[in-house]
């Protein structure tokens, strides 16, 4: 999933650098506040461990192929999300410089796609809720597999988004998404199973390593939401200014068939509903009504991303309510 420099425009690369740098500075501050001098060498060695572990191939049963570990969630489970994130940055930077795996300009995007989602989203939203009431083999397997799959899906989707916004590839957005997400579903599953196998081994051999981390880093939905909120504004607002004016995947497909980006309608029902939609839409065609300004496009981006974020929060809340109900019943 390492992105090359050529796949990003300078604007997108810069925005991703800013987002990753802000998260790194915040993580460094959290580690400094903890003031645990012993953690610094452990983080360094664990980064080197992930590097070495990535070199070992694990055979995937029934496929004849093999996979390897990425390490973000594993590091977060042992070191905590902030230390895990910084260790992953060190790994990605060394990979980029010494092995040309990912580019210097794309480093910000690579950190975001491969370290941020695993260390923060995977940890705070999946791993921590699963294990906050204690560890068991089942909980660790479920948390690792779901955490890794979702983190990798988000990472893969971000790769598509960043490349498409950069306007580098002619590959339609839909086709790109359809080719990236399924393959990363399989990769995420393997990564999750390897992570689970290692964590289960730790639980049996040295459970204090998992317990030590679990007592720190209390789950804070508020902090995750604040971070996600900043990202929503960054991605939706700033990046939409650089959005391509070319048709999206669906519009492109329609254009190839009809030589128009929208299908012509010939029914009364369609006309009536289109009228209702035009009257009620706050930002028709991603602009303020009667305006073509960049501000409109930007606001559309923020509003759109905000609605998606709200939808995600709503889903989290619904799951949370059900979980609490279940806990009360038991």
């Amino acid at each position: 999933m390492h992105m090359a420099d050529a796949l990003l425009s300078p604007a997108v690369g810069g925005v991703m650098y800013a987002a990753s740098a802000a998260t790194a500075v915040y993580s460094a501050k959290k580690i400094k506040d903890e003031f645990d001098p012993k953690k610094i060498p452990v983080m360094g060695i664990m980064g080197a461990f992930v590097f070495a572990a990535q070199m070992i191939n694990f055979s995937i049963p029934g496929t004849g192929s093999s996979g390897h570990i990425c390490g973000g969630l594993l590091l977060s489970a042992i070191l905590g999300p902030y230390a895990g994130f910084l260790s992953m940055i060190a790994v990605l930077l060394i990979q980029c410089l010494l092995f040309a795996d990912g580019g210097i300009l794309a480093l910000g995007a690579n950190i975001w796609n491969m370290a941020f989602y695993a260390c923060f989203f995977g940890y705070f939203c999946i791993y921590k809720p699963f294990t906050k009431n204690g560890f068991s083999v089942g909980k660790i397997i479920a948390a690792s597999v779901i955490g890794c799959i979702l983190s990798l899906q988000l990472g893969a989707f971000s790769v598509v988004l960043e490349t498409s916004i950069s306007g580098i590839s002619e590959l339609p957005f839909g086709t790109f998404v359809a080719s990236m997400l399924p393959i990363h579903l399989a990769i995420g599953l393997v990564e999750g199973l390897i992570t689970a196998a290692v964590l289960v081994f730790l639980l049996q051999a040295r459970p204090e390593l998992l317990d030590a981390e679990a007592t720190e880093n209390k789950f804070s939905l508020k902090k995750v939401l604040v971070i996600m909120g900043i990202i929503v504004v960054l991605v939706g607002g700033a990046l939409s200014l650089f959005a391509s004016s070319y048709p999206d995947g669906l519009e492109w497909s329609i254009f190839q068939v009809t030589e128009s980006e929208e299908l012509e309608s010939d029914g009364n029902i369609h006309d009536t509903l289109a009228g209702v939609q035009e009257d009620t839409a706050v930002l028709p065609d991603y602009s303020f009504s009667g305006s073509d300004s960049a501000a409109g496009t930007s606001v559309s981006g923020i509003v759109g991303a905000g609605i998606v974020a709200l939808f995600c929060i709503l889903l989290c809340a619904i799951f949370g309510v059900f979980k609490k109900k279940k806990q009360l019943e038991s």
């Binding site: 420099d5 796949l7 983080m43 070495a52 940055i89 580098i168 590839s169 002619e170 199973l193 730790l202």
Partner: protein, 266 residues
Amino acid sequence: MGKISDAIYEIHYMDTIASKDSPIHRIHPLIKLLTAIAYIWFTVSFDKYNVAGLLTMVIYPVVVFSVSGTSFRHSVKKLRVILPIILLMGILNPFFEQTPRFTFYGIIVTNGMVSGFTLIVKGCFAVLGSYLLIATTTIESLCYALNLLHVPKILVTQILLTYRYITVLMSEANHIFEAYILRAPFQKGVHFKVWGSLLGQLLLRSIDRAGALYDSMVLRGYNGEFRYTQLRRLQWQDFAYLAAWAGAFAVLRYTDFLNMVGNLFV
């Protein structure tokens, strides 16, 4: 186990060539870092149909390769890592963008072909830019440059420690994996039944090693903060190097340099 030994060799090789002496090696690491970023930045910012302009950016790698005495052949190996992805993206472009751009000896060249080609060239130039940085600057010097850029000290320390211990842990991983493969000769990778114990053993050894490392650091006066000695001050030659390259990149990027040169002679 070729993969791990190759990687260890690669790290030692890069360490060796980065420690050589040449006019480029002697430039301040911060200046080399900024120049490399500027090169990559200007290169990827070229329009996807501006092939001629983009190709003029070859001047930076050509000059730095020859002045620093770095092997071009070895850098081609680095291209192998990233080239498959870029080639795939570039090759797909002609299928999705078939608007004709120009005709070349009767062959219709489409926008997709041109943008695919520039994508591949940009990818190669960007890899060469970062390769030349690390081939002429040691990781310690780069970390010193990051320190000057006010990158958090904890992060810089992480990079240094991780880099120092990569070869140690990779050798350990190599021993574990070789021992396993000798007992399971016809397997493609590690069997899923021992995924946890094999990697877990390496993890436990790493954590124990971290404990030993911490003790040795404390014995040498470590109290939670790393101190860096200043390598050397920035000199006017460093600023001249950066200004010259930044100026050259800007001229190549924002002017029709090839036509300007051509007009001088025609």
